[in-house]
Every structure is written in C-alpha cells, then in structure tokens.
Symmetry: C2
Subunit: 109 residues, 2 copies
DNA sequence: ACTTACCGTAAGTACAAACTTACCATTAAA
DNA sequence: TTTAATGGTAAGTTTGTACTTACGGTAAGT
C-alpha cells in the first residue's frame, strides 16, 4: 500500500467515522468538558478517551487547553468548516452530474 | 459488544473515513462509472473495489443499477444530504454554545 | 455453443486501530 | 509535604478491516 496525501477534511472524516469519537464530539457540542467528564458515561476507559481526543485534536475537530489540573476540550470550528466546505463543493459538482443522470434513470426504479 | 445505533450519517462518515472510498466517491462526482472503470487507476484490485462499493451503497452514498453486464454507479444524494444536515445542525448548536461561553466570559471580567 | 467482458462473493491473510492495565507527571489542596 | 485529582503515554492484546486470490455467475458478442 502506498501512502497518500491527507487533507484536513480527510482526517476529519476519518475521525468522525469512529462511533466513540462521534459520541465524544457530540458531548462537546453542548459545552466544553474536561477529559474525565468526557470519559464519564462512555463504555471505554479514560486512557482510551485520551487517545481518541488525540485523533480529534489532530483532525482540528477539538481544541484543548490546560486549566489547573484539568484539560478542557471544546469544539474546533476549523475541522467542522473543512468538512462543510468539502461537502458543499462536492454538492455543486455532483448536482450537475446527478441531474444529467436523472434523465436516463427516470424509467428505472 | 459496543454495538450501538447507527444513523445514516454515521455510516456515511465511516464510509468516507477510508481514503480508497474517498477516491472512489470523488471519481463518481464527475459522472457515473462502471465498476471496472472505477477500479482502473486505483492501487487496489477490482474485488476490493466491489467491497468498498458495498459499504458506500449501504451508507446511501452511491446508487448502483445494472446496465447490460455493467454495474453503473453514481452518487446518491441522500447520504451527502445526511452529512450536510448533521454538520449544519451541529454548527448551529456549537455556535450557540460559543455565544453562551462568550457571555459568561464577559460577565467575569 | 463458445468466448469474452463484467462483477459479486468466499476464504484466508496482514496490517491498522481500538482497547486494556500499569505507570508516571503535574497541579491543587490538606 | 503529603494526599488526591487529573490525565498523558507505554506496552501488549484483541478486534476490525482492507486486501489478496480463486471461483462462479450472468450478459453480450462471435
């Protein structure tokens, strides 16, 4: 297998592909949380959460900053924007192709 | 053991998390293609492509219909819309949280 | 009927990733 | 300074998944 370039949205899609990371991501949607608060209620250990946070951070989906002994995590808008932009751009190009294909597809299904 | 409910956007994010599937997805953005055309140029075998197409189809990201001996694949707008809706909804709530955090921060100054 | 093109699935393998426990560092409070 | 809270990282295991080859099955052309 050969390595290929990884865009910012690539990492973001990959990060949100995991259900546990999705759960973490959605927990942070409401308000910033410390690591221990994120782990609480999840069916995995705290170290596992730490590892997931690392992935989310690398995908620019969350930001982390120290506050005393706590590591407060919050949503990073950059990763979300990257995905939105990718999908919006995709949408524009795909829509034209879709309309064209819809003509031929009309008699089927 | 970690089985949880899988929404349509869940499957879509998971599907686009794989770089090969991303490549397939983007190939179909321009126009519908047969399986052999999709596999051509990709660094994986055709059966591998078939397996990826299965995942993409299950995530409602592509549609497949027979045409002679060929299986024509095209973008399915439903999966794309599901992701867009998820991100848009997420965006709104996250922004509200930021606003609230900003208010709170202001009060403490 | 035979051949060719197209494609899905089965079986098995190899590597990536998600998880665990154990440990250590840092900070705040007692 | 001792204790408690927080959490990152290492090491190792297990599970998941992306891939391969081999095969069978269908449709179109010869």
């Amino acid at each position: 297998m050969k390595k290929q370039a990884i865009s910012s949205s690539d990492k973001a899609f990959n990060a949100l592909g995991d259900p546990t990371r999705r759960a973490i991501f959605e927990k942070l949607r409401v308000r910033p949380l410390a690591v221990v608060e994120i782990a609480d209620g999840l069916p995995v250990s705290r170290p596992a959460v730490s590892q997931h946070l690392k992935v989310l951070k690398d995908a620019r989906l969350i930001r982390v900053h120290r506050e005393g002994t706590r590591n407060l995590c919050q949503i990073d808008t950059r990763g979300v924007l990257a995905m939105r932009n990718y999908l919006d751009n995709f949408w524009d190009i795909a829509l034209a192709a879709f309309k064209q294909a819809a003509e031929k597809h009309k008699k089927h299904e």
